[in-house]
């Protein structure tokens, strides 16, 4: 394919590549500490070494993902300056406060993670070691919060005035706590938790499918699925609020996601379907009133459609597929974790049924896919703006040559890191299976230590 060199286009591709790769590790980095904390807390409360071992083994795998998360996070931090210097010049004046605070939150997390990993057997009281994971959880979630406020700002910029290209009346707090902040940060953080619960649940379920029916894995599954169910309910509720935010502040983003062309009352929700060349929706399921409910919580309310906007101000319509994919996977995760809980409550001999276990295993990669869909939707859905209604994406980009060469360089780098980290993680747990470690540590079937 022949493509004329356009630095803005290549900058978008390279940023998308880095973020798409980084977000996998960042999501795990935010969510897994909470799961580790839950497991260790269960271990102390129930005096059950299985849970403590779970925390220990999760933490060991976690470090490898954190390493990749840290370096790709550094990469995106630097790349923003290299690829979007004009945007960063403006962002530096207006939204650098949370960027700065994110570094502090991460710093805090990094210090305590180092301590946590190397002090498992150092304190007499188990509780003291548990306390060390709390700053890691707080640091991880707060760094997600701060960095997401920057993304929220890109969607709903406020806290400054732009008069003839000069920025005045700057209010860093207003910029940080913009209208998009509550729903966006809540959505990002809770889905990090949800995804991490499913990724860890996947490991337990997979082991059981492979024939290892040790109670250790059953406990892992129970913990992760219970947590996943709670987080998925939270995700649905926050998702609903996000819809209301979009309807109010970025109606064209919602309209593009929902293929809502004409402004109307009592708007139906278009689910799935395909778009023909003349923008005709085929094979879609239409749920009456549902879009009005999503947008305003009222089945008869008016929802603004794409007809109110010039075409050059709206996002490409394929974002609908991303949006629906994300929502569908979210529903699936809620369903699978609910099924597990129902069975464990009413139908105990079904709770480790092969099909359900496969369902959990599939939830791992699917939840990561949903994260990717969600972020690509969030970013493409904001187009053509890099800063909504203020700066168009190409205006923010570098004018540098060779962005294309850098794109190829980074494709190589991420391929290398992706492959290496998978190999390392696989080997790490294969060479030291849970059963073997329990034997070494003298942990018996009931989680007691001899």
């Amino acid at each position: 394919m022949f493509m004329e060199y356009d630095p803005a286009m290549f900058s978008r591709m390279l940023t998308g590549l880095t973020l798409g790769f980084h977000i996998i590790f960042a999501t795990i980095g935010v969510g897994v500490p909470l799961m580790i904390a839950l497991a260790e807390w269960m271990g102390i409360r129930k005096n059950d070494e299985h849970y403590r071992l779970l925390a220990r083994r999760w933490a060991r795998g976690f470090v490898v993902t954190v390493a990749v998360g840290v370096v790709t996070g550094t990469a995106i931090g630097l790349q923003l300056n290299l690829l979007w210097p004009n945007f960063m010049q403006l962002a530096g004046q207006t939204i650098s406060l949370p960027l700065f605070m994110e570094v502090f939150a991460f710093f805090f997390e990094a210090i305590f993670l180092g301590i946590y990993l190397y002090t498992w057997d150092r304190f007499k009281s188990k509780l003291r070691h548990f306390l060390l994971v709390i700053p890691v959880v707080i640091g991880a979630s707060f760094s997600a919060f701060f960095i997401t406020t920057v993304n929220a700002f890109m969607n709903a910029p406020q806290g400054f005035e732009l008069v003839d290209g000069v920025i005045t009346d700057i209010n860093p707090i207003a910029a940080m706590f913009n209208p998009a902040t509550p729903t966006k940060t809540a959505h990002v953080i809770i889905t990090c938790y949800l995804t991490s619960a499913f990724v860890l649940g996947m490991i337990g379920a997979f082991k059981m499918l492979k024939g290892d029916r040790h109670v250790y894995h059953k406990k892992a599954l129970r913990l992760t699925m219970t947590a996943a169910f709670i987080f998925s309910i939270g995700t649905v509720i926050i998702g609903d609020f996000s819809g209301k935010y979009l309807a109010e502040y970025q109606p064209e983003k919602l309209a593009a996601a929902e293929w809502h062309f004409e402004t109307e009352d009592a708007a139906p929700l278009v689910v799935g379907g395909f778009l023909s060349d003349d923008e005709e929706v085929n094979y879609a399921l239409e749920i009456p009133y549902a879009l009005s409910i999503l947008a305003h919580g009222d089945p008869n309310s008016e929802v603004i459609g794409l007809d109110q906007f010039a075409e050059e101000d709206t996002a490409p319509l394929f974002v609908h597929y991303l949006f629906d994919g994300m929502v569908f996977i979210g529903m699936y995760l809620a369903f699978v974790s609910m099924l597990y809980l129902l069975f464990s409550w009413k139908k105990k001999n079904w709770m480790h049924h092969k099909l359900l276990l496969w369902g959990v295993v599939a939830g791992g990669p699917l939840s990561i896919l949903a994260i990717e869909f969600g972020w690509v939707f969030a970013e493409i859905g904001r187009q053509p703006w890099i800063l909504y209604d203020i700066m168009r994406t190409p205006e923010g980009a570098t004018t540098s040559e060779h962005v294309d060469a850098m794109l190829y360089l980074f494709i190589g780098l991420y391929a290398l890191l992706g492959i290496s980290s998978s190999i390392v993680l696989r080997k790490m747990f294969k060479d030291n299976p849970a059963a073997q470690e329990m034997e070494q540590r003298g942990i018996d079937e009931r989680g007691n230590k001899s």
Binding site: R60, V64, V66, A67, V68, V70, V71, T72, T74, A75, G77, L78, Q79, N81, L82, L83, P85, N86, M88, Q89, A91, G92, Q93, T94, S96, L97, L99, F100, E102, V103, F104, F106, F107, F108, A110, I111, F112, L113, G114, I115, L117, Y118, P135, I170, P172, T398, T399, S400, H402, A405, M406, L409, F410, L413, L417, S420, S421, V424, M428, D431
Partner: protein, 337 residues
Amino acid sequence: MSYEILGISVLWFFLYGYLIVASVDFGAGFFHFYNKISHQDYQVNKLIQRYLSPVWEVTNVFLVFFFVGIIGFFPDTAYYYGTALLIPGSISIVLIAIRGSYYAFNTYGSKDSKIYSFLYGMSGLLIPASFTIVLTISEGGYLDVSDGNVTLLLGELLTSTYSWSVVVLAIVSVLFISAAFLTYYAYKAGDDASYTLFRRYTLWWAFPTILASILIFFSISRHNPEHFSNMVDMSWMFILSLLFFLGAVYLIYSKKQLGLAFVLVMLQFFSAWFGYGASHLPYLLYPHLTVNDGFVNETMAIALILAFIAGLLLLIPSLVFLMRLFLFDADYVRGKR
């Protein structure tokens, strides 16, 4: 003190922090690899790992702190440096990514691999070299700014004596700082074999370090006479640096007060670093950008400074806790925990 000077001093201080901790880290990674291929005492590498394992992430944050801070305090740097540094900046990112990941893969993965050790040992040595490009460019003469476009003059950069002398200084200082620290650490661990080895490394790299520093003076006087004359005005800081250096080498040579010796090494770089920085002012980039015209609005500056103070109140106790557990805990250092 004006906000501009306060801002740049804080950032410069963090970059100094990075210079020290990253040098220890990068040098240790290189020695780890070197000892592995030359089949030297296995003990040495265990010592290196014991130091590095809990702190490597912290090192990286110092760097992120700096570049996030400089965009915050001096947004115009994003425009000039961001545009010009696409290629060298990307190369640095790749090196940092390789260094950080392969360090973790090697340390936490199930077995110590020679390839992984090579990757993180060598990339660690190249990172400081690639970063120095920023300092080099800041001297002016390597950028073309016209029609609102900033381009890096790669040819000028690659053929300049000044830029190469900075690269040499970066690499030898990394090895010198790291060896001086590990001498002290090995001594505290009571590990005689490692101690002897690192003491030899420190003395070995001491002379090239000072030679490279003199080379810098010489080449900067030719490349940027204005900056050089400012440096001469502040020559007391560089003389102080030299005295610290001589003190450190003397102590290590005579096997006395190794902790103090490392402190002197830190002071040596502190005075040279701030001497260089202070004489560079008011320019962030000769001759296009000064701290005054590139400064962020005052509201944001105050917000950033407040956030910075709050952050320090959180971080300093945490860092002290980390160091007490791993750096100043005799049992941990000796490998008994």
